[in-house]
């Protein structure tokens, strides 16, 4: 038994029910990983650790549930499963623990990591927002993700439906511009996914492709060992990790209360730059970002705002001049447009519209409109989101 590394015991301890980082820290401070595991298994922790009595559970029940759980877990084989899946286990004192997390006010006790862990130390920005985003929110999140990737800044997000996923997709798609610019950064920004389940439990299922793409292209981290379900309380923990890891946080679309607002406020409490994407005030999903603006967050107009706003916490910040030049480069790609496309583009500039609406307004034939949209889409001038065509600025 004694020849197992601490990581094996850490995985087993982290898999116990109702164990968050703070509880693990307390155990490990007193006993170290291996001994904490032994005590917890034999139900002898009750004398060493104080648990609050809650309405649902007596402390003795919690200790008993830990003991029961650990008796069922074969530490050796459980550890092996992590290794087989290529999951790295980073303990709190390890030099591999990213500094941003190690120095945080609520540092993780153990971190599970899949993908290339070097990306955890890149300069990165959290992009948060609702799971039920509007087309505007999705477009903005994608664009922010792509622009950040272009200038070598990673995107931290939760891989959830809506804004989170869109930001990651943007980040994965971005970075094409990086080679055109003589950037100081050696590579494009990479997506960092922070999830609330074990790294083998894909959640949400719809994002299975994204999940694997992030592992492939960036890195996926969690505080939950293999097989851990995405329980509600773990999402709050996950949000804290997003705030801790990011050098700045952008809130795209959110209602007045919700997980993304919590993340943004955690970022404020950590002294990070928080940016709000302004929305239309009649849209309930704009109220979250607007509240943040009112509380003193910065407005997000384009990626330059983030570059300016990134504090000295960020190890690497692109020069503002490069990002400006980058945009002018992008703009130069799309100069010449045929007359029909001009008309269609003009029509879309006021607000996103469906094909039918464009036909109705411009009086062009459907075939003309569709062909023009197709041409402009191939030039990345416009994009279709939820059946609405949106102009890429």
């Amino acid at each position: 038994m004694t020849d197992l590394p601490d990581e094996a015991y850490a995985a087993a301890l982290a898999s116990m029910p109702l164990v968050a980082a703070s509880r693990l820290h307390e155990m490990v401070d007193k006993f170290g990983w291996a001994q904490a595991w032994e005590l917890a298994r034999d139900n002898r922790l009750r004398h060493a650790i104080a648990l609050r009595t809650t309405s649902e559970r007596q402390p003795s029940e919690v200790f008993a549930s830990w003991s029961d759980h650990l008796r069922q877990v074969d530490v050796d084989r459980y550890f092996d499963r992590h290794l087989q899946l290529g999951i790295e286990i980073i303990l709190r004192d390890s030099p591999l623990m990213p500094l941003t997390l190690a120095d945080d006010i609520q540092p993780p006790a153990v971190l599970f990591c899949r993908g290339d862990r070097q990306w955890l130390s890149q300069t990165c920005v959290g992009v948060v927002g609702t799971r039920r985003a509007s087309s505007y929110g999705v477009v903005m999140a994608k664009r922010i993700g792509a622009e950040l990737a272009d200038i070598g800044i990673g995107v931290v997000s939760g891989l959830a439906l809506g804004i989170d996923g869109a930001a990651h997709r943007g980040s994965l798609a971005g970075g094409q511009g990086a080679s055109e610019l003589e950037l100081v950064a050696s590579s494009k920004g990479r997506p960092i996914g922070v999830v609330a389940s074990g790294l083998d439990v894909v959640y949400p299922r719809q994002h299975a492709d994204l999940w694997h793409a992030v592992i492939e292209d960036g890195v996926l981290i969690s505080e939950v060992p293999v097989g851990g379900r995405p329980l509600t309380w773990r999402f709050a923990q996950r949000n804290r990790l997003i705030a801790a890891l990011s050098h700045a946080v952008v809130c795209v679309e959110s209602k007045k209360v919700g997980g993304s607002m919590t993340t943004a406020r955690m970022a404020i409490s950590r002294g990070l730059g928080v940016f709000s994407v302004p929305g239309v005030i009649t849209n309930p999903l704009a109220h979250g970002p607007l509240d943040l603006l009112h509380e003193g967050a910065s407005v997000y107009r384009n990626v330059d705002d983030i570059v300016v706003g990134l504090s000295s916490r960020a190890p690497w910040v692109p020069l503002l001049s490069t990002t400006k030049r980058h945009r002018s480069l992008v703009e130069r790609v799309v100069e010449a447009l045929d007359p029909v496309s001009e008309v269609v583009l003009e029509c879309l500039e006021t607000e996103p519209r469906s094909v039918d609406a464009v036909v109705e307004i411009t009086g062009l034939s459907l075939v003309q409109v569709v062909a023009a949209l197709d041409r402009m889409q191939s030039g990345r001038r416009v994009e279709e989101v939820f059946g609405q065509w949106v102009v890429n600025v």
Partner: protein, 502 residues
């Protein structure tokens, strides 16, 4: 004495000739029907007796045996009543054999001697092997349309006997009402906005491409679907006979002229059973909705509300154009070549807008998954509709009328027919590549859609054939341009439910 009269029975949607033989001999008075009659057939005895007596005709107090030949085939229904009565009168000596020479009869007898219509008069009279046939006056026009011989309509047994004896002339058949053009109550010009929807209807009608529409309630899915049949060309005489036979066999209401000339529209409710959709049944094999929609349109509103096994039964008829129904007692084959239009909401709550949707992602996925992948593949055209803007509803110029679009559809169908296939949707991939090559720009558009994951390899073939239909509608000659392909792509949108996951 022995006498026989021709008649016919229904097997699925086709008629089958039957000879009704009646033998009257001395012996204990009695009446027996042999030759696999079903219950309603066996009851003919009581109807015939009452009808003869009511018409002041003699009922022979002798031993009567009725045989329905061929004896091995099951007979059903009350359509043999008239044939039995006539043969019986001849066998009993009331009519001479000369009178009934070459006569075929179809019809049910009332107790007062009246002759009533029976289901399936069109296939029945089509199959009848007789030089002159007698049918109920109520459905004489349908029989005339189906049978090229002499067709007589009669109202009651007394009238029939008098005519057969030559006492009275045959009753005059009223002139068939003119084939009045059905009032196009749903015109395309009523559709405001919906440019894509209009084009999708036109392409569906011209190329025979199945169409799936997704959208929130009130987006106009049903409104559009109702306007599709009017765009299809009139049925050819062969098609018309096929469809009329099916409708007649199912005892559907016929147009007054007796023949279906316009493509039928069938819109079964989503509570319909698999048998009601496909056909079949316990006693007789009845055509289902797919057969009734033969040569016409099958409209499945709220397709996601249909039990999935019912919807999946459609796969074979879509592919083969026929349904084969096999039961222990036998199997029948019924034609079922239809244009399918389906409509569904994007999710259980019906809101397409992800902001307003109250469904959980799991609910939405479950809803979408009710359409199996193979079935979804059959839809060349997939449309996502939104509620039209208010300005479109109140203002907005009226669009082209049905008549204009119908003409274009007819021309496109002609072009397709010259290629040798009935419609473009039935072209195989090899044939499609041969007759409709893509221009390099067109190929680029397709490749881009493939690379971005919008299209699968199979989807590419379907988009290609839709692009061909669009080109035909524009009477375009030469390789398909990027405009055609882009428009075809625009008519194959992703289902909104899956894109909501960003």
């Amino acid at each position: 004495m022995l006498a026989s009269v021709a008649s016919s029975t229904l097997l699925g949607v086709v008629g089958r000739p039957v000879t009704v033989e009646v033998h009257v001999s001395d012996g204990l008075p009695g009446f027996t029907i042999v030759g696999l009659p079903d219950a309603s057939c066996r009851e003919a005895r009581d109807r015939v007796r009452a009808a003869l007596l009511s018409s002041s005709l003699p009922w022979p107090l002798k031993r009567v045996t009725v045989n329905l030949a061929p004896s091995g085939v099951r007979k059903e229904g009350s359509g043999f009543d008239v044939a039995i009565a006539v043969a019986l009168l001849a066998a009993a000596g009331e009519l001479s054999l000369k009178h009934i020479d070459g006569i075929g009869c179809i019809g049910e007898l009332g107790l007062d001697g009246s002759i009533r219509r029976v289901p399936g008069i069109v296939p029945l009279s089509h199959a009848l092997e007789a030089s002159s046939i007698v049918v109920p006056m109520a459905c004489v026009h349908e029989a005339i349309a189906a049978n090229n011989g002499v067709v007589r309509g009669v109202r009651d047994l007394a009238e029939l006997v008098a005519a057969l004896k030559g006492i009275n002339p045959w009753p005059v058949v009223p002139a068939p009402p003119d084939a009045i053009e059905e009032l196009a109550s749903f015109d395309m010009s009523d559709v405001r906005g919906h440019a894509t929807g209009r084009l999708a209807l036109e392409v569906a009608a011209a190329g025979g491409h199945h169409l799936l529409m997704t959208g929130p309630p009130g987006a106009g899915k049903t409104m559009l679907a109702r306007r599709l049949p009017a765009l299809l060309p009139d049925l050819t005489s062969a098609e018309s006979l096929e469809s009329t036979c099916i409708h007649s066999a199912a005892d559907q209401l016929m147009p007054t002229c007796g023949m279906l000339r316009r493509p039928p529209l069938r819109a079964p409710h989503h509570t319909a059973s698999a048998v009601a959709i496909i056909g079949g049944g316990t006693s007789a094999m009845r055509p289902g909705e797919v057969s009734l929609a033969h040569n016409g349109v099958l409209f499945l509103d709220e397709i996601a509300e249909f039990p999935s096994f019912v919807v999946d039964t459609l796969r074979v008829p879509i592919e083969e154009g026929v349904v084969r129904i096999s039961r222990a007692r036998g199997s029948v084959c019924m034609p079922a070549r239809f244009l399918m239009i389906a409509a569904m909401n994007p999710c259980p709550c019906g809101e397409a807008n992800p902001m307003l949707c109250r469904c959980s992602p799991a609910q939405r996925q479950r809803y979408e998954r009710r359409l199996s992948g193979p079935l979804l593949d059959r839809f060349d055209l997939r449309l996502t509709l939104d509620r039209p803007a208010t300005s479109d509803l109140v203002g907005g110029a009226p669009g082209e009328s049905t008549a204009v679009v119908k003409q274009r559809v007819a021309m496109a169908r002609e072009i397709a027919a010259e290629r040798g296939s009935r419609t473009n949707s039935q072209l195989t991939l090899q044939r499609l590549r041969a007759v409709a090559p893509l221009s390099s720009a067109g190929r680029q558009v397709l490749e881009r859609a493939l690379n971005t994951g919008r299209l699968s390899a199979r989807g590419m073939h379907r988009v290609h054939s839709v692009a061909l239909t669009i080109a035909d509608l524009g009477q375009h000659v030469g390789p398909l341009t990027s405009d055609h392909v882009a428009t075809a792509l625009c008519l194959r949108q992703e289902l909104r439910c899956s894109t909501a996951a960003a």
